[in-house]
Symmetry: C2
Subunit: 212 residues, 2 copies
DNA sequence: AAAATAATGTCAATGAATTGACAGCAGGTT
DNA sequence: AACCTGCTGTCAATTCATTGACATTATTTT
């Protein structure tokens, strides 16, 4: 069984396909061709076919793709057919906002707990879960099958906490701290560097001004 | 004056360079070679030199790069030498969290106001600014030189609001809504699709499980 | 002051990603 | 039932991005 590695460029596009297919599904549309998708999504039809084919061909010649089926399959590829338990580390503004943001549940990401090092927050209820002290993190991860930790803590603390999470067997870290984490390859890290994103926007604004 | 287009691949790496250079600067380090940076950042020295050279060569043969100078120059390229006024549209969890997150100010992004369509929130103070009604958005943008609008509203409303922002001359939109906005090319959009990011993490976790 | 060293800027080579082209098959039509 | 049309899967061509190599120049050492 030889599985070829799929490039992250392709993976990065899957959630967008997933989103558009979900919309088509909600509109009751049954079939779609790569050309139609191309028109809606503003990417080439060739790329769409190439991308889907990495996973073995979901379409039928002369017909196109079945929306419902393709949606399901991409969901499976993304691992959305299984649910993931997640905890949030850092009950600051961002941590609380993410905890309260209900939409992730829809895709099987279950909010299981939130931790902070500030004793003043202990016991405060956020989305029906009490803020727990950092010391209890490891035990909680182990006994509740936590897959994903969301890091919304200052960058100075992120690396140390990441190490502790690695030690208790976390599978993935969704990192909002402005620092690159150093973890073994069996732990997946997905960075959301908000200020990097804002700087890119700033660059593009400046560039456009100059080109006038 | 022929300015060649810089690829977004390069731009996407600039904030990371900027971050590492800032750290070196804070440590009081004066000079750095592409090889040293390569070791720290885990990218090839060749890429670093190639990237910097897109903007005209900041280094000196036999010496390397002056940290302070390079930091400044990358900041300028990213447009961080000028300040940007921003408003937040949507005073929900995420909107409030971003408003309260002070770190953007450090890079010249000034929080100037926050808007919501919910009358119950009008007047509530967030970071010393009262939540304003959506109707007042256009007037405020025009009279306060607002460059950037941060969209933290549901996807159903995002497109319409974006159109209104375009009409009153906004330069950039930092879009947290789960939808692709359709705006003219003179308006820059930077998307932060959190659920897409989470799905990528989910994929990488699943993939790793399977490969064992 | 000359020689040795260090490290850039840049060109060429390689590798990866995207696009274009089309054979071949399924579905629809006459 | 035969023909036509539509659209995938895939191969080849092209474009874009990354890496490697090195001539050149500044700095440091002797």
């Amino acid at each position: 069984m030889e599985e070829k590695e799929i490039s992250q460029a392709v993976i990065g596009r899957l959630p967008r396909y997933f989103r558009y297919l979900g919309e088509l599904k909600d509109q009751g549309i049954e079939r779609v061709s790569s050309q139609e998708l191309s028109d809606i999504m503003k990417v080439t039809a060739s790329q769409i076919r190439q991308d889907f084919n990495n996973f073995g061909g979901f379409g039928q010649q002369g017909y196109g793709y079945n929306v419902e089926y393709l949606f399901q399959e991409i969901g499976k590829i993304l691992g959305l057919d299984k649910s993931h338990n997640l905890i949030i580390i850092g009950a600051g503004n961002l941590g609380q906002a993410l905890a309260n943001y209900g939409n992730f549940e829809r895709r099987g990401f279950l909010f299981m707990g939130i931790f902070d090092k500030n004793p003043l927050l202990y016991g405060r209820k956020i989305r029906d879960r009490e803020v727990q002290p950092m010391e209890d993190m490891e035990a909680y991860v182990k006994s509740n099958h936590i897959d994903i930790a969301v890091l919304t803590i200052p960058k100075t603390e992120a690396e140390a906490v990441a190490q502790r999470l690695v030690c208790c067997g976390i599978k993935g870290i969704w990192n909002f701290a402005h620092v690159d984490l150093n973890v073994p390859e069996e732990v997946q890290v997905e960075n959301v560097h908000l200020s990097d994103s804002l700087m890119k926007l700033s660059y593009n604004i400046s560039r456009f001004q100059k080109n006038r």
